[in-house]
Symmetry: C2
Subunit: 367 residues, 2 copies
């Protein structure tokens, strides 16, 4: 293989595919990136066998071929080179020379044949979604996935594709995040995508221009196609929880409150709460005021916020972390909090939109 | 104690004095900050018994007094409060209430009497220096202090004060950094200030306006006085090395080279060198070219730089880290490298100024 490409595009491409490379792998070949000529393009591939990322960049291909080079070393080298043309040449025994202006690196690569093939996903039935919408949907759900591995299915986000729209749902036993969007497509499907995959996609989406993403599914895999990037991930096995029956449809008290005020107050209250064990903050809602308190060995705090209350007064306790997580990703200036009793879930909804539902289980207050 | 002060100034002051607080201390009182009313000012103090930092801010003192509050908790709380007036009130049993807008925190403090007194340094004989000059002198020397504790005196920077100027010197057995400046003062002295102290001073100096610093010395301590901040540090005991006899005054080859070009090339060369053990890069200087090479198990690199050479050709090896450290802090566009033999020290000097001298010992090349 022999080719010439631009430093900037190569560096960007390496940084994208590196997101699939795990430093913890025991298979040396997976610490490498595959470089392969494809027509007049250079394809780069990184994978940890769970996620695979392919990136295509324009290059002047002088001689076809392929090679696997250490992801870390290659990335470090290309980043440090000046912003000029880079020549990559593979000679005998996988010896690879990288030339740029006054620099010449010689690395020993590994044969491309040893690099695992990514799963094949037929691109015959696309579900199309705008990049910024997908990014927002990921941001508003993925944080609510379970971290512990006792119920693996909860470590992913359920994605439901219907003709009229798309739903994404995550839950971990303490809270649930549901984001809906109206997207017209002909395909129906549902699948559970690992949180790790969605986090990587979220990071890659920021680096691309505002375009469409095509999603393709098989029973086992999902493929995301962006402009120059393809991300293939396995899906999680098993049935997701029937989340609809968890979400209450009625309430006895509805509070309207400024999102930022509530976030700031709960963050301050949790400064002391986190010194304890359960991050407990108490909300005492009465008339036009919400009092937030928290107590720990080192002291206590009292916060007061102006609210609009419809319905009954209520005292209720929460793990502040679950509140803060949600308040950080809701864009609406005001939100509604809906309560039934002090031992039933609280629902958070943006004031200006019906596309988001967040549910938190309360902590029983011993008074 | 009862007082009102502004959130912004208090937060800034806390962040300054926190630099003296060690999270590793076994003495609970040292995890706290002392707050004390002094006239119409609030004094904050943090110390780890090696360094003490005092900061003064304007406050409306409604009742005199003092208290010690957890540094971390107090810092977290004040940072999170809105940008408004803050009221601090100490009542019985060291109970302290912090009020701001709709927030009220109650903390249990510790009695101020338990907080250690900082050493007393008489302010009768000041050595005065501009903040930005002091900052630059610290930056150009402190990185060359020794890290390992086998020779404690080398963990500090020697500061020599003379009528005509000031010298700061650091060395660690592999390299030496000497920064000189012309400052007119009446005082003569020399002392070795711990690198840790200078690093903290360097960080605090960025946050203050461009003013003077006054330095006062006793046998054991140094006091730095800035506008609202006083830093007291112990000095290191013992005799510093007679550094002047280490610096060669003659050379056989002098190379003029662009600082940035050399830094970039050595950084690239060291990408592979650091995979080995000693960061070895080789410089081969001949006519108008410097070839920098490095070789390791995973590959090798060759860099070429245009230079101006006066004198003999030379091949010489270095630990790239010691070169990179110096090239990063030299402001001059070009530098001179002076060599005698491949086993004698190399001297780096800025091209546009005679105030800085950096010496590196070479690594013997086995060829």
């Amino acid at each position: 293989m022999k080719l010439i490409c631009q430093k900037k595009t190569l560096a960007q491409s390496i940084s994208t595919v590196q997101k699939a490379v795990s430093s913890k792998t025991n298979l040396p070949i997976l610490k490498g990136l595959l470089l392969e000529s494809v027509g007049q393009q250079l394809k780069l591939v990184g994978t940890d066998l769970e996620i695979g990322i392919e990136s295509y960049i324009d290059a002047e291909i002088l001689e076809e071929g392929s090679i696997v080079l250490s992801s870390r070393i290659l990335g470090d080298i290309i980043r440090k080179l000046p912003d000029e043309d880079i020549e990559i040449e593979v000679t005998e025994n996988n010896k690879t020379t990288i030339r740029c202006k006054n620099s010449e690196f010689t690395l020993v690569g590994q044969p491309a044949e040893e690099f695992p093939d990514l799963p094949i996903v037929e691109e015959d039935n696309a579900y199309i979604i705008a990049q910024d919408l997908l990014k927002n949907m990921i941001k508003q759900t993925v944080f609510a996935t379970a971290i512990d591995e006792t119920r693996p299915i909860l470590m992913g986000v359920l994605i439901e594709l219907k003709e009229q729209g798309i739903h994404m749902v995550a839950l971990d036993g303490y809270r649930l995040a549901l984001r809906e969007a109206k997207v017209r497509n002909e395909m129906e499907n549902k699948a559970v995508i690992p949180a790790k995959t969605l986090n990587e996609i979220n990071r890659i989406l920021t680096e691309e221009e505002n375009h469409e993403v095509k999603m393709f599914f098989t029973d086992k895999h999902v493929l995301f196609c962006m402009k120059n990037t393809r991300i293939i991930s396995r899906l999680l096995d098993g049935e997701f929880i029937n989340y609809k029956q968890i979400i209450p449809t009625e309430y006895k008290s509805r509070v309207k409150v400024n999102t930022k005020d509530l976030l700031d107050s709960i963050e301050r209250a949790s400064l002391l709460a986190k010194e304890g064990k359960n991050n407990l903050v108490k909300l005492s809602i009465k008339d036009d005021e919400m009092i937030i308190t928290s107590t720990s060995e080192i002291g206590n705090v009292l916060e007061s916020i102006q609210i609009d209350l419809e319905g009954e007064d209520i005292d209720i306790g929460f793990n502040s972390k679950y509140f803060i997580d949600a308040l950080k990703i809701i864009d609406s200036e005001d939100i509604y909090l809906k309560f039934t009793t002090s031992v039933s879930p609280c629902i958070i909804k943006p004031e200006d939109n019906d596309n988001y539902t967040y549910l938190i289980l309360p902590v029983r207050i011993v008074s």
